[in-house]
Protein backbone atom coordinates (compact mmCIF):
# COMPACT_ATOMS: atom_id res chain seq x y z
CA UNK A 1 0.00 0.00 0.00
CA UNK A 2 1.35 3.44 -0.84
CA UNK A 3 1.96 5.94 1.95
CA UNK A 4 0.18 4.14 4.80
CA UNK A 5 -1.10 6.72 7.25
CA UNK A 6 0.26 6.76 10.78
CA UNK A 7 -2.34 5.95 13.48
CA UNK A 8 -3.64 9.08 15.08
CA UNK A 9 -2.77 8.16 18.62
CA UNK A 10 0.96 8.29 17.86
CA UNK A 11 0.74 12.04 17.48
CA UNK A 12 -1.52 12.72 20.47
CA UNK A 13 -0.23 13.91 23.80
CA UNK A 14 -0.08 11.14 26.35
CA UNK A 15 -2.20 11.92 29.38
CA UNK A 16 -2.94 10.10 32.53
CA UNK A 17 -6.63 11.13 32.44
CA UNK A 18 -7.11 9.57 35.76
CA UNK A 19 -8.69 9.41 39.11
CA UNK A 20 -6.44 9.88 42.11
CA UNK A 21 -7.30 10.18 45.78
CA UNK A 22 -5.46 10.43 49.06
CA UNK A 23 -6.98 10.40 52.54
CA UNK A 24 -5.61 10.84 56.01
CA UNK A 25 -6.66 8.47 58.76
CA UNK A 26 -5.76 8.16 62.38
CA UNK A 27 -2.10 7.21 62.15
CA UNK A 28 -1.34 7.43 58.44
CA UNK A 29 -2.55 7.94 54.89
CA UNK A 30 -4.04 5.88 52.07
CA UNK A 31 -3.39 6.80 48.44
CA UNK A 32 -5.30 5.35 45.51
CA UNK A 33 -5.24 5.60 41.73
CA UNK A 34 -6.59 3.97 38.58
CA UNK A 35 -4.24 2.61 35.90
CA UNK A 36 -5.30 4.01 32.53
CA UNK A 37 -2.99 6.09 30.31
CA UNK A 38 -4.61 7.50 27.19
CA UNK A 39 -3.28 9.17 24.03
CA UNK A 40 -6.31 10.78 22.42
CA UNK A 41 -8.88 8.02 22.21
CA UNK A 42 -6.47 5.12 22.60
CA UNK A 43 -5.50 3.51 25.84
CA UNK A 44 -1.73 3.17 25.57
CA UNK A 45 -1.12 1.62 28.98
CA UNK A 46 -3.85 -0.09 30.98
CA UNK A 47 -1.75 -1.08 33.99
CA UNK A 48 0.27 2.02 34.89
CA UNK A 49 0.94 2.60 38.57
CA UNK A 50 0.35 6.29 39.16
CA UNK A 51 1.43 6.20 42.79
CA UNK A 52 5.07 7.19 42.75
CA UNK A 53 7.41 7.10 45.76
CA UNK A 54 9.14 10.33 46.72
CA UNK A 55 10.71 8.82 49.82
CA UNK A 56 10.24 5.77 52.05
CA UNK A 57 7.12 7.13 53.71
CA UNK A 58 6.07 9.80 51.23
CA UNK A 59 4.26 9.04 47.98
CA UNK A 60 2.66 11.17 45.32
CA UNK A 61 -0.24 10.50 42.98
CA UNK A 62 0.17 11.59 39.34
CA UNK A 63 -2.44 13.13 37.04
CA UNK A 64 -2.53 15.30 33.93
CA UNK A 65 0.22 15.01 31.33
CA UNK A 66 2.06 11.73 31.91
CA UNK A 67 5.48 13.09 30.99
CA UNK A 68 5.17 16.23 33.12
CA UNK A 69 3.91 14.34 36.15
CA UNK A 70 6.57 11.64 36.00
CA UNK A 71 9.35 14.18 35.57
CA UNK A 72 8.22 16.23 38.55
CA UNK A 73 8.08 13.08 40.68
CA UNK A 74 11.57 12.00 39.64
CA UNK A 75 13.10 15.42 40.20
CA UNK A 76 11.51 15.76 43.64
CA UNK A 77 12.60 12.22 44.54
CA UNK A 78 16.17 13.30 43.85
CA UNK A 79 15.82 16.59 45.70
CA UNK A 80 14.36 14.82 48.73
CA UNK A 81 17.24 12.34 48.78
CA UNK A 82 19.70 15.21 48.95
CA UNK A 83 17.61 17.07 51.52
CA UNK A 84 17.25 14.07 53.81
CA UNK A 85 21.03 13.51 53.74
CA UNK A 86 21.55 17.16 54.62
CA UNK A 87 19.24 17.09 57.63
CA UNK A 88 20.28 13.59 58.64
CA UNK A 89 16.78 12.22 59.10
CA UNK A 90 13.59 11.40 57.18
CA UNK A 91 12.05 14.43 55.44
CA UNK A 92 8.71 15.93 56.43
CA UNK A 93 5.71 15.41 54.17
CA UNK A 94 5.30 19.18 54.00
CA UNK A 95 8.86 19.49 52.66
CA UNK A 96 8.10 17.04 49.87
CA UNK A 97 4.88 18.85 49.05
CA UNK A 98 6.70 22.18 49.02
CA UNK A 99 9.27 20.88 46.55
CA UNK A 100 6.49 19.63 44.27
CA UNK A 101 4.64 22.89 44.61
CA UNK A 102 7.75 24.93 43.75
CA UNK A 103 8.13 23.12 40.43
CA UNK A 104 4.38 23.23 39.64
CA UNK A 105 4.24 26.94 40.34
CA UNK A 106 7.42 27.93 38.52
CA UNK A 107 6.42 26.02 35.37
CA UNK A 108 2.69 26.43 35.63
CA UNK A 109 2.36 27.79 32.08
CA UNK A 110 4.44 25.09 30.44
CA UNK A 111 3.32 22.09 32.42
CA UNK A 112 -0.02 20.54 33.06
CA UNK A 113 0.22 18.04 35.83
CA UNK A 114 -1.39 17.81 39.25
CA UNK A 115 0.30 15.82 41.98
CA UNK A 116 -1.24 14.95 45.31
CA UNK A 117 1.46 14.40 47.94
CA UNK A 118 0.74 12.23 50.97
CA UNK A 119 2.79 10.44 53.59
CA UNK A 120 3.68 9.96 57.23
CA UNK A 121 6.31 11.71 59.31
CA UNK A 122 7.15 11.62 62.98
CA UNK A 123 6.16 15.21 63.72
CA UNK A 124 2.64 15.47 62.29
CA UNK A 125 1.69 11.90 61.46
CA UNK A 126 -0.32 11.26 58.32
CA UNK A 127 -0.80 14.25 56.02
CA UNK A 128 -2.28 14.92 52.58
CA UNK A 129 -1.32 17.94 50.50
CA UNK A 130 -2.86 19.19 47.27
CA UNK A 131 -0.59 21.10 44.87
CA UNK A 132 -2.97 21.99 42.06
CA UNK A 133 -1.68 24.79 39.80
CA UNK A 134 1.03 25.70 42.27
CA UNK A 135 -0.88 26.11 45.52
CA UNK A 136 -0.03 24.18 48.66
CA UNK A 137 -2.78 23.20 51.03
CA UNK A 138 -3.17 20.48 53.62
CA UNK A 139 -6.53 18.70 53.48
CA UNK A 140 -8.11 15.74 55.26
CA UNK A 141 -8.53 14.15 51.83
CA UNK A 142 -7.90 15.19 48.23
CA UNK A 143 -9.19 13.92 44.90
CA UNK A 144 -7.80 14.78 41.50
CA UNK A 145 -7.76 13.94 37.81
CA UNK A 146 -10.54 13.93 35.27
CA UNK A 147 -12.51 11.28 37.12
CA UNK A 148 -12.61 13.27 40.33
CA UNK A 149 -15.48 15.51 39.19
CA UNK A 150 -17.85 12.55 39.24
CA UNK A 151 -17.11 11.62 42.82
CA UNK A 152 -17.07 14.97 44.64
CA UNK A 153 -20.61 14.32 45.82
CA UNK A 154 -19.77 10.84 46.99
CA UNK A 155 -16.65 11.82 48.94
CA UNK A 156 -18.43 14.82 50.50
CA UNK A 157 -21.19 12.55 51.71
CA UNK A 158 -19.12 9.60 52.87
CA UNK A 159 -16.03 11.12 54.43
CA UNK A 160 -15.95 11.13 58.21
CA UNK A 161 -13.15 12.26 60.45
CA UNK A 162 -11.23 9.64 62.39
CA UNK A 163 -11.82 6.60 60.17
CA UNK A 164 -9.74 3.51 60.78
CA UNK A 165 -7.16 2.20 58.31
CA UNK A 166 -9.53 -0.45 56.89
CA UNK A 167 -12.41 2.01 56.56
CA UNK A 168 -10.14 4.46 54.74
CA UNK A 169 -8.95 1.77 52.35
CA UNK A 170 -12.55 0.79 51.62
CA UNK A 171 -13.48 4.43 51.10
CA UNK A 172 -10.66 4.86 48.58
CA UNK A 173 -11.54 1.67 46.69
CA UNK A 174 -15.24 2.61 46.49
CA UNK A 175 -14.41 6.10 45.25
CA UNK A 176 -12.03 4.80 42.59
CA UNK A 177 -14.54 2.21 41.39
CA UNK A 178 -17.29 4.82 41.02
CA UNK A 179 -15.05 7.23 39.14
CA UNK A 180 -13.62 4.53 36.88
CA UNK A 181 -17.15 3.55 35.92
CA UNK A 182 -18.10 7.01 34.78
CA UNK A 183 -14.90 8.58 33.46
CA UNK A 184 -13.72 7.46 30.04
CA UNK A 185 -10.13 8.42 30.87
CA UNK A 186 -10.01 6.30 34.04
CA UNK A 187 -10.08 2.55 34.27
CA UNK A 188 -8.12 -0.67 34.53
CA UNK A 189 -7.06 -1.77 37.99
CA UNK A 190 -6.88 0.10 41.27
CA UNK A 191 -3.57 0.68 43.02
CA UNK A 192 -3.53 1.36 46.76
CA UNK A 193 -0.67 2.51 48.97
CA UNK A 194 -1.06 2.63 52.76
CA UNK A 195 1.56 4.49 54.78
CA UNK A 196 1.77 4.54 58.58
CA UNK A 197 4.45 4.52 61.22
CA UNK A 198 5.05 0.81 60.73
CA UNK A 199 5.81 1.07 57.02
CA UNK A 200 4.46 1.28 53.50
CA UNK A 201 2.15 -1.29 51.95
CA UNK A 202 1.33 -1.46 48.21
CA UNK A 203 -1.69 -3.32 46.91
CA UNK A 204 -3.37 -3.94 43.54
CA UNK A 205 -7.08 -4.60 43.15
CA UNK A 206 -7.94 -6.19 39.82
CA UNK A 207 -10.96 -5.16 37.75
CA UNK A 208 -13.33 -7.92 38.72
CA UNK A 209 -12.53 -7.54 42.41
CA UNK A 210 -13.64 -3.92 42.46
CA UNK A 211 -17.00 -3.08 44.08
CA UNK A 212 -20.00 -3.04 41.71
CA UNK A 213 -23.12 -0.93 41.82
CA UNK A 214 -26.77 -1.22 41.11
CA UNK A 215 -26.61 -1.02 37.34
CA UNK A 216 -23.77 -3.48 36.77
Amino acid sequence: MLGEAEPQWLSEEVKTGTTIIAIEFNGGVVLGSDSRVSAGESVVNRVMNKLSPLHDKIYCALSGSAADAQTIAEVVNYQLDVHSMEIGEDPKVRSAATLVRNISYKYKEEMSAHLIVAGWDRKDGGQVFATLKGLLTRQPFAVGGSGSSYVYGFVDAEYRKGMSKEESQQFVVNTLALAMNRDGSSGGVAYLVTIDKHGTEEKVILGNDLPTFFDQ
Partner: protein, 198 residues
Protein backbone atom coordinates in the same frame (compact mmCIF):
# COMPACT_ATOMS: atom_id res chain seq x y z
CA UNK B 1 -29.93 35.19 25.94
CA UNK B 2 -29.03 31.61 25.46
CA UNK B 3 -27.57 30.05 28.56
CA UNK B 4 -25.84 26.75 28.03
CA UNK B 5 -25.83 24.39 31.00
CA UNK B 6 -24.70 27.09 33.37
CA UNK B 7 -27.99 27.57 35.11
CA UNK B 8 -28.49 26.37 38.61
CA UNK B 9 -30.08 23.27 37.37
CA UNK B 10 -29.65 19.96 38.98
CA UNK B 11 -32.30 17.48 38.27
CA UNK B 12 -32.71 14.09 39.64
CA UNK B 13 -35.33 11.61 38.91
CA UNK B 14 -35.75 8.31 40.61
CA UNK B 15 -38.22 5.54 40.26
CA UNK B 16 -39.70 4.17 43.44
CA UNK B 17 -41.82 1.11 43.90
CA UNK B 18 -44.77 0.57 41.68
CA UNK B 19 -47.10 3.23 42.91
CA UNK B 20 -45.04 6.34 43.02
CA UNK B 21 -42.22 8.24 41.48
CA UNK B 22 -40.26 11.24 42.26
CA UNK B 23 -38.66 14.05 40.45
CA UNK B 24 -36.50 16.77 41.77
CA UNK B 25 -35.30 20.09 40.57
CA UNK B 26 -33.10 22.52 42.33
CA UNK B 27 -32.80 26.02 40.94
CA UNK B 28 -33.80 29.63 40.73
CA UNK B 29 -35.36 29.60 37.28
CA UNK B 30 -38.21 27.22 36.81
CA UNK B 31 -37.02 24.38 34.69
CA UNK B 32 -39.71 21.97 35.71
CA UNK B 33 -42.52 22.16 33.24
CA UNK B 34 -45.80 20.34 33.49
CA UNK B 35 -46.70 18.88 30.13
CA UNK B 36 -49.73 16.99 31.34
CA UNK B 37 -51.58 16.20 34.59
CA UNK B 38 -49.19 13.50 35.71
CA UNK B 39 -46.24 14.09 33.39
CA UNK B 40 -43.50 16.61 34.11
CA UNK B 41 -40.53 17.58 32.07
CA UNK B 42 -37.19 18.98 33.11
CA UNK B 43 -35.04 20.92 30.70
CA UNK B 44 -31.34 21.46 30.18
CA UNK B 45 -29.27 23.29 27.61
CA UNK B 46 -30.42 26.38 25.82
CA UNK B 47 -33.39 27.65 27.77
CA UNK B 48 -35.00 29.30 24.77
CA UNK B 49 -34.86 26.12 22.68
CA UNK B 50 -36.14 23.99 25.54
CA UNK B 51 -39.05 26.27 26.27
CA UNK B 52 -40.07 26.38 22.62
CA UNK B 53 -39.92 22.61 22.33
CA UNK B 54 -41.90 21.94 25.51
CA UNK B 55 -44.53 24.43 24.47
CA UNK B 56 -45.01 22.63 21.17
CA UNK B 57 -44.98 19.28 22.93
CA UNK B 58 -47.57 20.38 25.47
CA UNK B 59 -50.09 21.39 22.84
CA UNK B 60 -49.37 18.27 20.80
CA UNK B 61 -49.96 16.10 23.87
CA UNK B 62 -53.20 17.75 24.87
CA UNK B 63 -54.57 17.20 21.36
CA UNK B 64 -53.33 13.61 21.44
CA UNK B 65 -55.08 12.96 24.73
CA UNK B 66 -58.35 14.34 23.39
CA UNK B 67 -58.10 12.05 20.36
CA UNK B 68 -57.28 9.00 22.49
CA UNK B 69 -59.90 9.93 25.10
CA UNK B 70 -57.43 9.10 27.85
CA UNK B 71 -54.37 10.64 29.47
CA UNK B 72 -51.22 10.26 27.38
CA UNK B 73 -48.58 7.67 28.20
CA UNK B 74 -45.30 8.96 29.60
CA UNK B 75 -43.48 7.41 26.67
CA UNK B 76 -45.76 9.31 24.33
CA UNK B 77 -44.72 12.58 25.94
CA UNK B 78 -41.07 11.60 25.72
CA UNK B 79 -41.48 10.54 22.09
CA UNK B 80 -43.02 13.84 21.12
CA UNK B 81 -40.01 15.63 22.58
CA UNK B 82 -37.66 13.19 20.92
CA UNK B 83 -39.19 13.72 17.47
CA UNK B 84 -38.79 17.45 17.78
CA UNK B 85 -35.19 17.15 19.00
CA UNK B 86 -34.15 14.63 16.37
CA UNK B 87 -35.79 16.28 13.38
CA UNK B 88 -34.31 19.64 14.31
CA UNK B 89 -31.02 18.50 15.74
CA UNK B 90 -28.96 20.99 13.72
CA UNK B 91 -30.72 24.02 15.14
CA UNK B 92 -31.60 22.92 18.66
CA UNK B 93 -29.51 22.50 21.79
CA UNK B 94 -31.80 21.12 24.44
CA UNK B 95 -32.10 17.93 26.45
CA UNK B 96 -34.97 16.66 28.60
CA UNK B 97 -35.82 14.40 31.46
CA UNK B 98 -39.44 13.32 31.18
CA UNK B 99 -41.06 11.67 34.16
CA UNK B 100 -44.56 10.76 35.15
CA UNK B 101 -47.13 8.13 35.92
CA UNK B 102 -49.53 6.40 33.55
CA UNK B 103 -51.97 3.58 33.90
CA UNK B 104 -50.17 1.21 31.56
CA UNK B 105 -46.65 1.06 33.02
CA UNK B 106 -46.88 3.05 36.23
CA UNK B 107 -44.01 5.35 37.10
CA UNK B 108 -41.37 5.90 34.40
CA UNK B 109 -38.40 8.09 33.62
CA UNK B 110 -37.14 8.88 30.13
CA UNK B 111 -34.16 10.84 28.98
CA UNK B 112 -34.06 12.66 25.65
CA UNK B 113 -30.51 13.75 24.98
CA UNK B 114 -29.15 16.54 22.78
CA UNK B 115 -29.19 14.71 19.45
CA UNK B 116 -32.56 13.09 19.99
CA UNK B 117 -31.79 9.74 21.64
CA UNK B 118 -34.58 8.42 23.85
CA UNK B 119 -33.87 5.94 26.60
CA UNK B 120 -35.60 4.76 29.73
CA UNK B 121 -33.69 4.73 33.00
CA UNK B 122 -34.62 4.09 36.61
CA UNK B 123 -32.60 7.04 37.85
CA UNK B 124 -31.11 9.91 35.92
CA UNK B 125 -29.41 13.23 36.56
CA UNK B 126 -28.67 16.25 34.40
CA UNK B 127 -27.48 19.82 34.35
CA UNK B 128 -24.19 21.46 35.23
CA UNK B 129 -24.14 20.22 38.80
CA UNK B 130 -24.88 16.66 37.87
CA UNK B 131 -21.26 15.71 37.08
CA UNK B 132 -20.38 15.97 40.76
CA UNK B 133 -22.98 13.48 41.92
CA UNK B 134 -22.62 10.63 39.43
CA UNK B 135 -20.54 8.77 41.98
CA UNK B 136 -22.98 9.43 44.80
CA UNK B 137 -26.02 8.38 42.76
CA UNK B 138 -24.30 5.22 41.48
CA UNK B 139 -23.32 4.27 45.01
CA UNK B 140 -26.49 5.15 46.89
CA UNK B 141 -29.37 4.42 44.57
CA UNK B 142 -31.23 1.20 45.25
CA UNK B 143 -34.21 0.02 43.24
CA UNK B 144 -37.58 -0.12 45.07
CA UNK B 145 -36.97 2.49 47.72
CA UNK B 146 -39.88 3.84 49.72
CA UNK B 147 -41.16 7.33 49.09
CA UNK B 148 -39.40 8.78 52.14
CA UNK B 149 -36.09 7.08 51.30
CA UNK B 150 -36.35 8.37 47.78
CA UNK B 151 -37.05 11.93 48.86
CA UNK B 152 -34.11 11.79 51.24
CA UNK B 153 -31.82 10.34 48.56
CA UNK B 154 -32.81 13.05 46.08
CA UNK B 155 -32.45 15.85 48.61
CA UNK B 156 -29.01 14.59 49.65
CA UNK B 157 -27.83 14.30 46.07
CA UNK B 158 -28.99 17.81 45.27
CA UNK B 159 -27.45 19.26 48.41
CA UNK B 160 -24.11 17.68 47.52
CA UNK B 161 -24.23 19.02 43.98
CA UNK B 162 -25.21 22.46 45.19
CA UNK B 163 -22.23 22.37 47.55
CA UNK B 164 -19.79 21.86 44.69
CA UNK B 165 -21.33 23.56 41.67
CA UNK B 166 -20.96 27.31 41.83
CA UNK B 167 -24.00 27.90 39.66
CA UNK B 168 -26.35 25.62 41.55
CA UNK B 169 -27.99 26.67 44.76
CA UNK B 170 -30.93 28.14 46.59
CA UNK B 171 -33.95 26.00 47.06
CA UNK B 172 -34.74 22.37 46.30
CA UNK B 173 -38.00 21.66 44.49
CA UNK B 174 -39.33 18.16 44.69
CA UNK B 175 -42.26 17.02 42.61
CA UNK B 176 -43.64 13.68 43.69
CA UNK B 177 -45.90 12.06 41.13
CA UNK B 178 -47.94 9.06 42.11
CA UNK B 179 -51.01 7.26 40.94
CA UNK B 180 -53.02 9.52 43.22
CA UNK B 181 -51.66 12.80 41.90
CA UNK B 182 -48.87 15.30 42.13
CA UNK B 183 -47.30 16.87 45.21
CA UNK B 184 -44.85 19.72 45.28
CA UNK B 185 -42.35 19.78 48.16
CA UNK B 186 -39.96 22.67 48.71
CA UNK B 187 -36.81 22.38 50.83
CA UNK B 188 -35.24 25.77 51.52
CA UNK B 189 -31.46 26.17 51.67
CA UNK B 190 -31.18 26.25 55.44
CA UNK B 191 -33.09 22.98 55.84
CA UNK B 192 -30.82 21.05 53.48
CA UNK B 193 -28.69 18.20 54.86
CA UNK B 194 -25.17 19.18 55.87
CA UNK B 195 -22.01 17.21 55.29
CA UNK B 196 -18.65 16.92 56.95
CA UNK B 197 -17.11 20.19 55.83
CA UNK B 198 -20.03 22.48 56.66
Amino acid sequence: ESVQNSQTNVMLHTKLNDTSMEYVSSKTINKVIQVHDQIFCCIAGSLADAQAVTKAAKSHLSFHSVQMESPPLVIAAASVLKELCYKNKEELQAGFITAGWDRKKGPQVYVVSLGGMLISQSVTIGGSGSTFIYGYVDAKYKPDMTREECQQFATNALALAMGRDNVSGGVVHLVVITEKGVEHVVVPGDKLPRFHDE
